[in-house]
Amino acid sequence: MKPPRFDFVRATSLADVHAVLAELGANARLLAGGQTLMPMLSMRLVRPTAVVDIMHVPGLDGIAIKGNDVRIGAGVRQADLLAWPHLAASLPLLQAALPWVGHAQTRSRGTVCGSIAHADPSAELPLCLLALDGTVGLSSSRGRRHVPASEFLVGMMSTARADDELIEAIHIPKRQPGAGYAFNEFGRRHGDFAIVACAAVVAATSIRLAVGGVADRPERRDFPLIEGKPLAEAIDAFSWALDARDDLHATARYRRELVRQMGHATIEEARRCRG
C-alpha cells in the first residue's frame, strides 16, 4: 500500500496554510502527526492534490492556560500533552484518557488536534472534548471562528470544518473545583480503537456521561445528582437513545450493555474522585 501522487507543501506560516486551503479546498489535506492521514493515504481513502505539512508553522505548538481554558495548538503531539506538567491539575479527564490513545509509539507523533480533525467515532480525544464542553478554534483566509464540540462533531469522520479552514487550536475548560472526572474504555486489546469508551464528569449539581464507539459520533447526556437504581434507569434510557449499530467487533446490544455497565462504573469512579 503506497500513497497516491500528491504535491508536498512545507508551510512555514499560517498565511501559507490559509493560501493553499483557499486555493485547493478539500483537495488539500493537512499533515500534522500523520497517524490518521498517512494510513488513509496509503489505503487510498483520500487522494489529495497536495499534502500540507503544518508542523513547521510557528505558534501552533503550544499548550497554554488562558483564563478558564487550556489552549492546545494544532502542532501539539499527544505525548507532549501527556508530559505537560499541569495536566493532572488542569485536565484530569485527559490525563485519564490519553494513555488509551493509540500506543506510546503513535502518541509520540500523533497530534491532539489531528484526532479531533478526523473525528473517528471511537476516538478518545473527540469524546473528551465533547464531555468537557471544549471548543475548536478554526481559521482561514476569511477569518477566525470558534465552534463548540457538540456542533463540530457532525458524524462519522465528519466535522463542521469548512474545506478552507485549519484547526488552529482547541480550547478545553480547566478542571472545575469540586468536580470529579473519570474515563474508561473497552477494546479487544489496549491501544485498539474502543468498542465503547466512557467519560464521566460529576459536578456540584449534575452528572454528565459521554460515550464513544456506539453512535456515529460521541454522544453525551446530563443527569441530576442521582445514584443507585434511578441512575441505572437513566443510563439505560440513554443507552436505548443511542444509535448503536452491529459491526464485526460487537453487536449494538453488546455496546448498549457496555454503556450501562461501564457508564455506571465510570460515573461512580468520577464521584469518588471529586475534589
Partner: protein
Amino acid sequence: MPRLSADTSHMVRLTLNGQTVEAAAEPRMLLTDFLRHALGATGTHVGCEHGVCGACTVEIDGMLARACLTLALQVDGATVRTVEGLAPGPGRLSVLQEAFRRHHALQCGFCTAGILMSLDHYLRRNTNPSEAELREFLGGHLCRCTGYVPIVAAALDAAKVLRETKADA
C-alpha cells in the same frame, strides 16, 4: 513557501545513525521505502504499512515513529536512528540485542527491528520497568512467533544489565 511537485524527486538530507546522508524522494515516498530503497538501510522492516504492526518503528529526532506513517520529505533535516545504529561497533551487539539472543526473543525476526528500537528508546529512559509497564509498551508491536514471553524476559534482563552497568560506572 516551498511546494514540491508530485512528479519530481526532491533531495532529502538527514542524519542517519550519526552519518549525514542524502537521496532523492518523490513526495509520496514513505520513509520505510526511502530508508530501504534510496538509502540501502534494509534493517527497518515493512510490515502492515498502516501503522498497526510496529515492524518499521524508528526514532526521529529522539521520538519513536512509525516509518510507514512518515513521508521521506518530512525527515529532511532530521536525525533518524534505525536498528543499524544500535550495535556499538562491527561484530558487537548492544546490551538489549545480546539479551534478545540469550532469551530467544525472536524467531522469524520480522518484527524484531521495530521492537528493538522501541525497547532501546524505553530502556534509555527507564532502566527499572515492571513487567506490566513493558507489556503495555509492547502493545504497540505485533509478534506472531514468540508469544511475547521471551521478548519481555529479554527486556527485563537487559534492564537489569543496564542497571548493574550504571551502578558500576
